[in-house]
C-alpha cells in the first residue's frame, strides 16, 4: 500500500473542507472496501480523511419514517429493533451481505459507495474504463459471468455489488448529503448511475460531498422478502438478488415495490412490474407474469446468459416467499 497522510475529523464541515482542499483525498469509514482497493493499487489517495469521529451514527425513527446516520454500522442497522420490525427487508438485505466481521466494520455510507467487484476493475494490469477511462472494457468479451444484463453500455458492463442498496432502492429511500455548497437530499434511485459514457462515475455525489444519512419513509408493506442467489450459501456477492415489498390485503396486492441486484450498474428498480402487480391477486400466475416482464430488455454477454433464466426464477420465488410471510 502506498503511504498517505491521515487526518481525523470531528464535524461534517471539517470533513468536507478537508476533502475540498485535497484533490486526491478520500473519506474513510469502515475501510473494508477502501483499504482493500488501496492494497490492490486500484486507488492511491494521498490523504485519508477519517470520518468516524463525526456524529452520524444515530438511528432515529418517527411516524414519517426512519433516519439512519451514514456511520451506522451494517450490523447495528440489521440488529436495530425498529428496523427489524418495521423495515425487515433492509435487515434481511444487510444480513445477506459480507460476513459478521465485515458488517461490524462496514458503514451505511461506505456500503453505498463501495466499488464494483468486476475482476478487470480489480486487476490493474487489465483494461478497465471504470478504473482508467479510455483503456477499454475487458469484461465485454472476457470473463463476464458476474456482469450486468440491464442498462449496460459498450464502455462498461460492471454491476453494483451491494445488497443493502437493493432494499433501499425498493423502499423509496432518500440520501442526505452535505457538501461545500450546503445540504441537499436526493432520491436513493437517483444516487447511483448507469455506466453510459462515464463508467468512472458510480454515483451523482459531487466534489467534496459527504453522505450524512439515509431516510426511509414509513410504509405499510406487510409482506417482504430479500432473495439472494450466489455461488455458495453465504459470504459471496450476488449473482442475482431481489428485494420484494408487498402490501397485500385479502389476496389482493394493493402496493408493490421491486428491485434487483447483480444485474445492473445500479440497484435495478422495476417500476413497470410494480404497476402490473398492483391490484392483481397474489398467486403463482401473477408472479410468473411479473417475472417474465421483469426480464424484458435484458442483454447478455455470453458467460452471463444464465442470468435471464435465473432472474426470472428469482423474481417469481421472491414474490412467492414474500406473499407467504405471516
Amino acid at each position: 500500500m502506498i503511504n498517505f497522510d491521515y487526518i481525523r475529523t470531528f464535524t461534517t464541515k471539517a470533513a468536507v473542507d478537508a476533502k475540498v482542499k485535497s484533490a486526491s483525498s478520500q473519506f474513510i469509514a469502515g475501510g473494508t472496501n477502501l483499504v482493500d482497493l488501496m492494497k490492490k493499487g486500484v486507488t492511491s489517495p494521498d490523504k485519508l480523511i477519517d470520518i468516524n469521529g463525526l456524529p452520524l451514527k444515530q438511528i432515529t425513527a418517527d411516524a414519517k419514517g426512519i433516519l439512519i446516520g451514514a456511520l451506522a454500522l451494517n450490523s447495528e442497522v440489521a440488529e436495530n429493533a425498529i428496523i427489524k420490525t418495521k423495515y425487515p427487508l433492509l435487515a434481511a438485505a444487510l444480513n445477506a451481505g459480507a460476513s459478521p466481521q465485515l458488517r461490524n466494520m462496514a458503514t451505511v455510507g461506505g456500503n453505498m459507495m463501495q466499488r464494483t467487484r468486476c475482476s478487470y476493475f480489480y486487476d490493474i494490469t487489465m483494461p478497465c474504463n471504470k478504473r482508467e477511462p479510455g483503456s477499454g472494457c475487458g469484461a465485454l468479451q472476457g470473463q463476464n459471468r458476474m456482469h450486468a444484463i440491464f442498462g449496460t453500455s459498450e464502455k462498461c458492463i460492471a454491476v453494483h455489488p451491494s445488497d443493502m442498496c437493493v432494499a433501499l432502492a425498493a423502499l423509496d429511500a432518500s440520501v442526505h448529503i452535505s457538501g461545500p455548497k450546503g445540504d441537499r437530499k436526493i432520491l436513493f434511485t437517483d444516487f447511483h448511475r448507469l455506466s453510459g459514457d462515464t463508467p468512472e462515475l458510480d454515483n451523482n455525489l459531487q466534489k467534496g460531498e459527504l453522505i450524512t444519512g439515509i431516510h426511509i419513509p414509513a410504509n405499510a408493506f406487510n409482506k417482504t422478502h430479500y432473495l439472494k442467489i450466489r455461488d455458495r450459501a453465504s459470504y459471496a456477492f450476488a449473482l442475482v438478488s431481489v428485494a420484494a415489498a408487498l402490501e397485500i390485503s385479502g389476496n389482493t396486492i394493493n402496493n408493490a415495490k421491486l428491485a434487483m441486484g447483480g444485474v445492473a450498474h445500479k440497484p435495478w428498480r422495476l417500476t413497470a412490474v410494480e404497476k402490473f402487480l398492483t391490484g392483481k391477486p397474489a398467486n403463482k400466475e401473477t408472479f410468473t407474469a411479473a417475472a417474465n416482464m421483469a426480464m424484458e430488455g435484458a442483454n447478455t454477454f455470453g458467460q452471463n446468459n444464465f442470468k435471464i433464466k435465473m432472474g426470472k426464477a428469482a423474481v417469481t420465488e421472491a414474490l412467492q416467499q414474500a406473499a407467504q410471510k405471516i
Partner: protein, 207 residues
C-alpha cells in the same frame, strides 16, 4: 496496568522522515540532477507522507503507546510490532477471517482495519482469551471436538465463535453456519467447529 513503550524508529531513534530528508539532500548534492534538486525542495511534503503517527491502544489488557505509519493495518501491527503471532494473515483482503480479533468486544477483520483507526480501543487477540493456564471454554471445546486440522484458521475461528455465541447467533447448527461464514477453513473442519460451538452454547458459561 502495565505500559509498554514500543517506538520502533530505528537504532538511533531517528525517524524515517529524518533519514529520507538526509538521503535525498545528499543525493541532490552529489548528482545534482534537476529532478533531485526539485525533490529536495519538496522534501517537507515527501517526508510528511512517511510520517509516523502516535497511537495508543490496549491489547489483551496491556496499554501500548506506539508510533505507526498510517498504512499499517491492525493485523500487521499485532504481528510485526507487538509480536503477537496468534492472529493469522490468510488472504489480507477480508475474504477468509483468519485475522479476526475483537475490538471493544466486537469481532472484526484486522487486515482491513488501519491501526491508526483504533486509537483508544481495546483489542483482544487469541493470546488474550485464556486466563493464565486456564483455556477459554471455546478453546477447550475446539480441542475436545477436534475443530481443526492444520490449525491455520483456528485463532480466527475461535475469536469469531466466541462472538457468535455472545451475539446470540448460535441457537442451532444452521444459524451457526451462517454466522460463522466469515471464517473459511481450507481443511474443512466445519462440522467439528459447529459441534464445538454448540457445546459452548449449551454449557451456558459466561464468555
Amino acid at each position: 496496568m502495565p505500559n509498554q513503550d514500543n517506538n520502533p524508529q530505528g537504532p538511533a531513534g531517528k525517524s524515517r522522515r529524518d533519514f529520507l530528508k538526509k538521503s535525498t539532500a545528499l543525493a541532490a548534492l552529489t548528482i545534482a540532477s534537476p529532478v533531485l534538486v526539485k525533490a529536495a525542495e519538496n522534501d517537507e511534503k515527501i517526508a510528511a507522507l512517511f510520517e509516523q503517527m502516535p497511537l495508543r491502544l490496549e491489547v489483551n489488557g496491556v496499554a501500548h503507546t506506539l508510533s505507526v505509519e498510517p498504512r499499517v493495518t491492525l493485523l500487521d501491527l499485532l504481528r510485526e510490532q507487538l509480536h503477537l503471532m496468534g492472529t493469522k494473515k490468510g488472504c489480507d483482503h477480508g475474504q477468509c477471517g483468519a485475522c479476526t480479533v475483537h475490538v471493544d468486544g466486537k469481532r472484526i477483520n484486522s487486515c482491513l482495519s488501519l491501526a491508526v483507526m483504533n486509537e483508544g480501543k481495546k483489542i483482544t487477540t487469541i493470546e488474550g482469551l485464556a486466563i493464565g493456564d486456564k483455556l477459554h471454554p471455546m478453546q477447550e471445546a475446539f480441542i475436545k471436538h477436534d475443530g481443526f486440522q492444520c490449525g491455520y484458521c483456528t485463532p480466527g475461528q475461535i475469536m469469531s465463535a466466541v462472538c457468535c455465541v455472545k451475539e446470540g447467533h448460535a441457537n442451532n447448527a444452521d444459524e451457526i453456519r451462517e454466522y460463522m461464514s466469515g471464517n473459511i477453513c481450507r481443511c474443512g473442519a466445519y462440522p467439528n467447529i459447529v459441534d464445538a460451538i454448540i457445546e459452548v452454547k449449551k454449557g451456558g458459561q459466561s464468555l
